[in-house]
């Protein structure tokens, strides 16, 4: 495995969905894609573990899905446009998922957005985050 450095590696709290991520997350994301169909959503909710066995994902990816660990899914190659289909299947809003990923309640996240969103200042590079939380 060649580990390439990228100009975006220094950006905090961000997992650029490049070819490496896409490669690692392929089957996780294609599982999410299957949830576009109502009958698949039903089958998934009825037996999550069984449904996930159809897809050659890693066990870690399956666990992250079953735990609804939204951040972990992203770290394991999930793409937000795909994983949010799991949220839709659960009847969760996008803001709920977004909040979870940054450790905020849906209410606090929504309030942050109403107040103009998370500022760019303090959130541009990893060094700005060292020792402190995301600047929300």
């Amino acid at each position: 495995m060649v580990t390439t450095k990228h100009d975006y590696d220094d950006i905090p709290g961000t997992y650029v969905f490049d070819f490496d991520k896409s490669h690692d997350g392929y089957h996780l994301n294609m599982f999410c894609m299957s949830l576009l169909k109502a009958e698949n959503r039903k089958a998934f909710l009825a037996d999550e573990a069984g449904y996930l066995q159809q897809f050659p994902m890693t066990q870690e990816q399956r666990q992250a899905v079953m735990d609804r660990d939204w951040l972990r899914m992203i770290q394991l190659g999930g793409n937000i446009y795909y994983t949010s289909k799991i949220g839709a299947t659960d009847g969760r809003s996008f803001q709920y998922i977004a909040g979870k990923m940054c450790g905020m309640s849906q209410e606090d996240y929504a309030k942050m957005m109403l107040n103009g969103g998370r500022p760019a200042d303090g959130n541009r590079s990893k060094s700005e985050w060292e020792g402190e939380k995301a600047n929300g």
Partner: protein, 279 residues
């Protein structure tokens, strides 16, 4: 001869589509967003284009990760609104201008753009939300559409410079089309949004507005912005604003900004909108 009269930049947030479809446009949360499009709707009615070239991205709907085209051009007679998981949006079918599309496809490939040609495709909120914002809720869309779907989901998207050059090649092809057509081009997506990770919800109002300024004042600068700057400054998914440069490249060097609107928040993102007329 066909002619491009103007360009429109606009966000295409899915929640905006839902707000329209559910009749929530007058709610306090949504009202300021839609207010910014009132003038635009009037403007578009007056321009009355025959065709809109609509640059957008698909969001894991018609395309998945098996096959990811950088530039996909639709050449069909019509495009069905997609079922994104909760039924298709209750909007009219999108009628294509297949002859213009085919002419564009041929011209672009001979001009060394490596287009993916699409004969059949459902279109998601990325394409239909801009139509709703600019036209409201008509029985039928008042113009035909040439869809141009750009990959901005799987990194790397095309560079800003490539997008701008594609716009120029589109303009050249449109002007060589042997039928009198009034054409408007939409660049959609963006502006600031980071939809994932611990930095979700980042908004950079200053950067976005400088981008809007320079669409008329200094588009060349915009073509030189590297992807990493979009990602760092406006959020990972903010890189999709690069699609506006296809629209800009298709216009004259000199354009007049006839309308601008910027609002935060539209769900998780900034909503940006601009209208540029050739002069």
């Amino acid at each position: 001869m066909a002619k491009i009269l103007a360009g429109v930049g606009t966000s295409h947030v899915p929640a905006i589509g839902a707000a329209i479809d559910l009749g929530k446009t007058q709610e306090p949360y949504w009202q300021p967003i839609f207010a910014g499009y009132e003038k635009s709707k009037q403007w578009l009615k007056e321009v009355d284009p025959d065709v809109v070239i609509l640059v957008y991205n698909d969001h894991a709907t018609a395309f998945a990760l098996d096959v990811v085209p950088t530039f996909a051009l639709g050449i069909a007679d019509e495009y069905q609104p997609a079922d994104e998981g909760w039924g298709p949006r209750p909007v009219p079918v999108v009628k294509g201008h297949s002859e213009l599309s085919r002419h564009l496809g041929t011209s672009l490939i001979f001009d060394h753009f490596d287009m993916t040609i699409v004969n059949e495709m459902a279109v998601d909120h990325g394409l239909t939300v801009p139509l709703s914002l600019m036209c409201g809720q008509p029985e039928a869309w008042p113009f035909k559409v040439v869809p141009l779907c750009v990959n901005v989901v799987q990194y790397p998207p095309p560079t800003g410079a490539r997008c701008f050059d594609l716009g120029k090649a589109i303009r050249k092809a449109v002007e060589a089309f042997d039928e009198d057509l009034k054409v408007v081009i939409f660049g959609t997506g963006g502006m600031s949004h980071q939809l994932h990770g611990e930095r979700a919800g980042m908004i950079n109002r200053e950067w976005d507005n400088k981008f809007l300024d320079d669409l008329s004042a200094d588009p060349q600068r915009l073509t030189q912005i590297p992807h990493v700057e979009y990602i760092r400054e406006t959020g990972a998914e903010g890189v999709e604003t690069v699609m506006w440069l296809i629209m800009r490249g298709a216009l004259n060097e000199q354009v007049e900004e006839v309308h601008r609107h910027y609002h935060v928040p539209g769900s998780n993102t900034a909503v940006g909108h601009i209208i540029l007329e050739n002069r």
